[in-house]
Amino acid sequence: MDNRSSVSSINGKIGRVSAAIFSVCILLSAVFWAAEGAGSNAGPPEQGFSIAVLPVENLSGTKAPVKDIRALLIRRLKAQGFQILDDESLEKFMLRNRLRYTGGINKAVAQAFKTETGVGSVLITSLELYSEVNPPKIALTCRLVSTGENPVILWMDGAGLAGDDSPGILGLGLIEDPMALLEKAVGRVEGSLGRYLNRKPAGENVQSVKRKFKPETFYRSDVLVSNARYSVAVAPFLNFSGRRNAAEILELQFIRSLKKSDQFDVIEPGVVRQQLLALRIIIPEGISLSDAGALFTLLNADLILTANVVQYEDYTGSFGKAKVDFFTQLIDRKSRSVVWSSVSHNEGDDGVFFFDRGRVNTAYAMASQMTRWVGKMMLAQGKRAEEAGEQGGENKMIEKGKQ
C-alpha cells in the first residue's frame, strides 16, 4: 500500500515537473514569436519614405522569371511595412519619361521620380545568374538610390547562392527547388535592406573575406592617401570573357565593395552612363586620359576605376568550377596617372583539399570577395598594403625592379 502511494506521489511529481517544463516552453516560444513578429513588422524610421521598385535588369544571359523576382521583392518589402510605389503609377511614369534602361537612374530621372511620384528612393535590381539545372544557382544585386537633384547610392547588397552551398550530412541541406533558392536569396537581400532602413547594424561578417581572394600582384601609388575620402566613378569595364554582361556584373561587384568602405563615395552608375552618352564617349579599348579628364570635371570625381574582365565563368549542374579573372586600374584626377593596378585570379576550388570544404560555387560569391580585397587594399597604408600582399604567400608585390 505504502509502495503504491509512494509510486503515485512520484508519478504526480513527475507530472507536475513535466507540466511546468511544458508551460515554460510554451511561454518561451510565445515570447520568441512575439519578438520575431515585432521585428518583421517594424517600419522604416522616417514616415512617408516610399520606394519605387524598378523592373529587374537581367544580366544573366538566360531567360529568368524577372517579374516573379520583382513581385517577391515587393511582397517582402511590403510585409516589412515599407511603402512601395504601385505598378500602375510606375508604368505611367516610365512611359511618360521614356525610361527603358532599368540598370540605373540619371539625374533627370531621379528628379522626375521625386517631383512626379514623390518617392524617396528607387530600388534597382540586377539579376546576374539564374540556373534551374539541379543544383539551382542564383545571384542578384540590389541597390537603393535616392531621388531628387543628386541621386546617391544609399544602400547596396546582393546574394549569390547555389543549391549545394551547404549540402550537410547525407545531402539534407541541398536545395533542389529554384523557387526556394530564389526566396532565400531575396530574403537575404530584403533582410539587409530592412536592417539599413531600420538603422540596425549591418550583418556582414568582415572575417568571412578570405585571404586566398587577394590580388595576385598589385601596384599602389603614394598619391593615394589612406585616410582620405574619395569620390569614385566606375567607368564601363571591358569584357574579354565569354560570359555575356560580365563587365556590367563586375562593375556592380566593385560598386558594392567600394560602397561598403566608408572612404569611397561611389557615383551612381546611371549618372556615369548619362555623362558618357552625353559626351559620346565609347570605350572600346579602355578609357583614355582625355576622356577621363572630361569625366572628372563633369562628375566631380576624384578617381576613375576601370577594369578588364578576362574570365567570369559559372557552371551549371554539379560538376565544374567558377572562375574569375580581372585586371583593375584606378586613375587619379590630380596626377592624371594610374594610382592603383592589380591582377586578380581565382577559381572556385582554390585552397580546397578535403570534402569540398571552402569551395565557392558561384562566380558572384568569389568576385564579391575578390573585389572587396581590392577595395580594402587600395587605401591601406603603404606598408600595410605590402604586408597584406606578402602575407598571402603567392600575393607578393614585386620588389626586384625597385630602384
Binding site: E216, T217, F218, Y219, F240, S241, I283, P284, E285, G286, I287, S288, L289, S290, D291, A292, T306, N308, V310, D325, F327, Q329, I331, S337, V338, S341, S342, V343, H345, E347, E394, M397, I398, K400, G401, K402, Q403
Partner: protein
Amino acid sequence: MRMALFCLAFVFFTACAGTREVYRDPNMDFGAIRSVAVMPFLSLARDNIAAERVRDVFINDLLATGAVYVVPVGEVARGAARAEVVTPATPSPEEVIKLASIIKVQAVITGVLKEYGEVRSGTTSANIISVSLQMMEAQTGKIVWSASTTKGGINIWDRLFGGGGQPMDKITQDAVRDLINKLFK
C-alpha cells in the same frame, strides 16, 4: 690526336654555353626611361584573349616595380588611333616615334605571345607559355631591348606521375616576372 682534342674541347666549351634570350643595346641609358607604353600583344596562340591577359599581367607587374610608369591602355589605344598606327601590335619605327610623341613616353614595348595553353605529349599534358618582348626607343624607333621566355611545359615529373603541370595563371606570372628580371638586370 690534335683533331680529337679539338673536338673534345669544342664539345665541352659549347656544353657550357647558354642560349642568349636577351638583347640589350649597350649604348642605351635605360635609367632615362621613366614612362612606357605597352602595345597590344600579337597572339600566335589559339586563345585570342590570352594576349590581353598576358599584357594585363605584364603592365601590372611592370608598374609594381615602381621603376617605370606605364601609360593606361586606353591612352595607348587613343594614341595609336591618332598616330594612325596600322597594326598596333607591330608598329613601324616611324609609327613608334609618332605615337611616343603623342602619348609622351620614352619607350614603347611590343610583344608576341608564341604559345599559351595546354601541350600534350603522349598521355601527358601540361600548360605552357612562351612570350617575347621588344622595347623600342621613342626618339629613333630603334629596338633597345629584346627578351623571350618560356615557362611551364612537360617535365620529367609530369611524365612519371602526371598531374597536368602548373596552373596557367601561375606560369603566366612566372614568365612575366622572368621578363621583368631580364629587363632590370
